[in-house]
Amino acid sequence: MLLQQYRSLYRIRRVEEVIAAHYREQQMRCPVHLSIGQEAVAVGVCTQLHREDALFSGHRAHAHYLAKGGDLQALFAELYGKATGCCSGRGGSMHLIDLAVGFWGATPIVAGTVPLAVGVALAWQLQGRSGVSAVFIGDGAMEEGVVHESLNYAAQQQLAVLFICENNGYAVYTRLAGRQPPRQIHALAAAHGLTVAVADGNDVELVSQHSAAAVAAMRQGGGPQFLELTTHRWLEHCGPDDDDHLGYRQPGELAAWRERCPLALAAERLQVRDAVSEATLVQLRQQVEDEIAAALEAAQNAPEPDGCERLEHLYGE
């Protein structure tokens, strides 16, 4: 399990680094919000979701999309504005979808997809379908009214919704303490009547364990669950660069989080605890590198959409 999770962590990290490297060429002409540093949240949660379970996300969604199994070439192509993109070029980085793997949509209005996840759970309840509907939000989303409306209804209707709050401590440059009073985020969800848990979001095994418990409870009719997972974004809010020189973080804060790299934690555990050989990890990494290189090249060589296509898909037939 951990080896597979490590592979997923490494794949997401490298995809984001490759995007950052190529972003400077100005061929990916859309805003990008990279997930470097936060990979374990995505991987730990998605490990516990089935392909048929629904997942929604927001503006920083590459990791969620990839962890759920979203097509890599379609992600790269979407960033390049290509016809083979997951939104056929309509969305760019901030709009991702891959229905084949249960990734129902990521869009960049903060908290905008939260009620949609609740609505999918409502539909499934009405249809007598089992399945979990999950949505990733950040700490900033907890300041949006629609999140509380969604928590209230999910609890009142006992819907199978998993809310995952990826608490990275910042909304753009503004610290949590500058936006919310000194109380725990998960306490808000508890007050709405949800079952809550809080854990270190950089430890993929911990995230996975808490997610497993939450998902198991929901599959047995246990009602909505809320996970608060603490982590940190290493790069700038929007764009490919390190922005620590701006000074909005506490001194030493980023360095401390880098010390707790989710990939390094997992790799160390694999080698020390599970006696996985360095050769195995080297081989795994090379497989990922090959996959990324091939997907990137395919996306770069893919055709652009025909300009006339912009008129399509406003309404159905």
Binding site: P115, V118, A123, S150, Y153, Q156, Y315
Partner: protein
């Protein structure tokens, strides 16, 4: 014909819900007060008892969240009909309507779509005031990805609700509280019609008057009075605001040569502005006079009777506007005005004996 079945607008709308809930297991109704003792002005009365609380649902006072929840349910294969007792309440949900419902199909290039109906009611009378009487039809009609319908007759109340539920895209269904009690022929036989097109509500050749929703009643009264005075008004009921049936309007204006738009909402920046722009662009040379519009004044509706008395244009205002546009002789205008039966009921009620609820 006496044998033709007469229904009120509210009864026809309720019948649409019965038909939809009976025929399509994907349909559910949801809104504040849907199963309550008043049943949204009796349009949902008894439906929870007939179809169950799962399909005829109350909801918390969370307009934006519940809109998103209905979008999610629609994405997962349901056909929700979300309703608000006042259009004004839906303004809390513009994020979900505009950023999500209206965009979902387009931004994902058709990979998913949102078959959702949002039912809104324009309030009027008994001091509804600044936040319970807004007729913001154009606000929704401006958004690509939405469809907007404004049924003005019992027949269309049923037909357009069924069309909206059958439609694959998000539809804003806008009623007017003063239409709920009007009665007209609604045949028992039901055909699901496509969600498109206006209709010629009255034929004439002297002037085209385009209107929608409640103002159709006032325009009809004005046209009947002018007919006695020798002026033949062609009345177009838009029915569907987006997509706008420009061809129907242009054909009428080409015949009549004059255009007046009577808007149920504000006169400026509204539906009338769009209709006049579309006709002027498409058929400038057919116009023998400058197009004109009549709508609500450019300020919120005040509450006090003394302040709201002159807020709403009526049939007399329509007659006056037509007389000005066609430069009718004073005697013709006076004859038409004298025929209008305003009645002696207070100006803030739709007719004598109406005691609410508003």
């Amino acid at each position: 014909m006496a044998s033709e079945r007469q229904l009120s607008y509210a009864e026809a709308l309720r019948e649409a819900f019965v038909i939809a809930l009976s025929r399509d297991p994907r349909v559910f109704l949801i809104g504040e007060g849907v199963p309550d003792p008043k049943g949204i002005f009796a349009t949902t009365s008894g439906l929870a008892e007939q179809f169950g609380a799962q399909r005829v649902r109350d909801m918390p006072l969370s307009e934006n969240g519940m809109t998103g929840i209905c979008i999610g349910a629609a994405l997962a294969g349901m056909r929700p009909v979300l309703m608000h007792q006042r259009l004004d309440f839906a303004l809390l949900s513009l994020d979900q309507i505009i950023n999500h419902a209206a965009k979902w199909r387009y931004m994902f290039a058709g990979r998913a779509h949102v078959p959702l109906v949002i039912r809104l009611i324009i309030g009027r009378g008994w001091g509804q005031g600044p936040q319970h009487a807004q007729a913001l039809v154009a606000l929704f009609a401006q958004i690509p990805g939405l469809k907007v319908v404004t049924p003005a007759t019992p027949y269309d109340a049923r037909a357009l609700m069924l069309a909206a539920i059958a439609d694959a895209d998000p539809t804003i269904y806008i009623e007017h509280r003063w239409l709920h009690n009007i009665r007209d022929t609604v045949p028992e036989a039901v055909a699901i019609e496509p969600l498109q097109g206006g209709r010629v509500a009255r034929q004439g050749q002297d002037i085209t008057v385009v209107t929608y929703s409640y103002m159709l009643l006032e325009v009809h009264a004005a046209a009947a009075a002018l007919a006695v005075a020798g002026v033949a008004v062609e009345v177009i009921d838009l029915r569907v605001i987006r997509p706008l049936d420009v061809a129907l309007i242009v054909a009428s204006v080409t015949k009549c040569g004059h255009l007046l738009v009577v808007d149920t909402g504000h006169g400026d920046f509204g539906v009338a502005a769009e209709v006049i722009a579309a006709v002027t662009i498409a058929a400038f040379t057919a116009l023998q006079s400058a197009p004109a519009r009549l709508g609500l004044p450019p300020h919120p509706c005040p509450t006090a009777p003394a302040l709201s008395r002159d807020y709403y244009p009526d049939a007399a205002a329509v007659v006056t506007a037509i007389a000005q546009q066609l430069v009718l002789p004073q005697a013709v205008q006076q004859q038409a005005l004298s025929l209008l039966q305003r009645g002696d009921h207070p100006h803030d009620t739709p007719y004598r004996g109406f005691n609410g609820p508003f």
